[in-house]
Amino acid sequence: MIKAVIKNKAAAISAGIILIIALLAVFAPFLLPWDAVRQDLASRLSPPGAGHLLGTDALGRDVLTRLLYGTRVSLAVALIPTGLAVLAGTILGIAAACYGKAADMIITWFTDVTLAFPGLLFAMVIMYSIGGSMLSVVLSIVVMEFGSIARIVRSVALSILENDYILAARTMGVKSSSVILRHVVPNLAPTLIVLFTLNIPASILSESALSFLGIGIQPPDISLGLMVSESRTFLFQMPWLSLAPSLVIMTLVMAFNFLGDALRDILDPKTRY
């Protein structure tokens, strides 16, 4: 698989970009001398230049430093809930496919319920109950995504179960738990990898949207969406303040989309999500 990714130019470039951005974000403290949180009102809103490469924001903080720290949060908030959503979706999807009609009906109903209203509105409901924080963002994204993942996993698992070798295993009296572990899960793996990759951009966009609206990550924590929102006042005078974080979001989302598309072509060419 890794070989195929390297062979596919678009995928290799996307993976490279993601890797570079991730490394920059992780090693941010060693790369730049500025503090991302401490305010320095004396040098507020300075334009890009030699000292502060991307200038400073309204509270005198270095924009580039904040950008890298924000990317950290965005990446973390993209990867963790996406992983959790894939995990939850897989368990529910397999359960719906393998454990009889009643389980199927209840799980399908539950996923339909979570897909029946805009994710952003549900995020607001969660926000209302537990307040804006990393936790509420993670929870919201998991709820937004696991439903459609469960749907896809269910249909793929059903088609795997239809294979003759599984019927054979079942007629030989193999327990369904070992059928699932031995046959269903390994055959689901390519689908899950693709689903994971393709849901990451959605998570990044959701997090940034929530933070932008002020119902996601809260200051003094940093997030790319929050940075755009904080610098909106200066949109016309200092457009780069809004542009820089937006561009990072866009680049990440695009790279993950490219990578996901390429992975799907490599691993799972027949299915379309």
Partner: protein
């Protein structure tokens, strides 16, 4: 006929689920809503009186059934903050959201289908790469970025369009474009892949053997077949669009449903939030049913079955 009944029953069950889910999540809240509403110096007595008047002293299942009963009668409760019936607030806000989504959906469909067709017709040649790039950009850019960019360009730089929504049609153009840009990307991608799947179909050979050029064959015959999944997608996108509408409405100051929900969160107005989410779920269900009906009307194979 039984399919229709089953479908309707499904919608009702899902809406019931939505109500239950929101009800439960909103009640996880620590502390009681009444004390949040009144200021901290309120007396025990006044808190208790408010709690009772809102019915918050009853056990949760009873509260839910009460809510359900009232909702069926069209009573979604009283807004804590604005002191008006929730339903009337929603019905005032909904037309704005409807206008916004309808306009941006038409924007998305026209440009998306056009780009998808061009991509498929010229596939793997320059126009295809160009439009694929643009549609990937479409699905990769956050809605607020497009909105801010459009404000910067069309208002600040070019002074062509108004900055905020003021009720006029002209001021709706920017919000609609910002919101539509996103779904245009996915419509284009789906139209392209749908058409590409049709490209190998023997009936396109038939069309060419009849004397249609390849391009016309794709347009007159292929598109007809590729459009059905796109319609289903449009319905699925309604949910995403309403999410996007929250952002667009907040950036351009449109007092639609999204803005209402946001206000509800900011003012800790539980009935209003609950009502807005429920209403949106209803709108989406109706959208899905419309898409189903359209598909059945357009696809002769489905029509014969039912």
């Amino acid at each position: 006929m039984s399919a229709v009944i089953r479908r309707g029953l499904g919608v009702i069950l899902v809406l019931l689920g939505v109500m239950l889910l929101i009800f439960v999540v909103l009640r996880i809240i620590p502390g009681d809503p009444a004390s949040v509403l009144l200021n901290e110096h309120a007396s025990e007595d006044s808190i208790r009186r408010l709690t009772e008047s809102m019915g918050l002293d009853k056990p949760l299942p009873v509260q839910f059934l009460d809510y359900l009963k009232n909702a069926l009668r069209g009573d979604l409760g009283q807004s804590y903050y604005m002191r008006k019936p929730v339903l009337s607030l929603i019905l005032t806000a909904f037309p704005y959201t409807l206008k916004l989504t309808a306009l941006s959906a038409s924007f998305a469909w026209i440009f998306g289908i056009l780009a998808g067709v061009v991509s498929a017709v010229y596939h793997d040649r320059l126009p295809d790469h160009l439009f694929r790039g643009i549609s990937l950009l479409g699905i990769s850019v956050p809605v607020f970025m497009v909105a801010l960019f459009l404000q910067y360009l069309m208002y600040f730089r070019l002074s062509l369009l108004p900055l905020m929504y003021d009720g006029s049609f002209v001021s709706m153009i920017l919000p609609a474009a910002a919101l539509g840009w996103n779904s245009a990307g996915s419509v284009a991608r789906l139209t392209r892949s749908g058409l590409m799947e049709q490209l190998d179909s023997p009936y396109l050979d038939t069309a060419r053997a009849k004397g249609l050029s390849t391009k016309k064959a794709i347009l007159f015959h292929g598109l007809r077949n590729a459009i059905l999944p796109v319609i289903t997608l449009m319905a699925l996108q309604l949910s995403g669009m309403l999410s996007g509408a929250v952002i667009t409405e907040s950036v351009f100051g449109i007092s639609g449903l999204g803005k209402l929900a946001l206000t509800a969160v900011q003012t800790r107005d539980m009935p209003l939030l609950q009502g807005t989410v429920l209403f949106t779920a209803l709108v989406i269900s109706v959208g899905n049913i419309i898409a189903d009906v359209t598909n059945t009307l357009l696809d002769p194979r489905l029509r014969t079955k039912s």
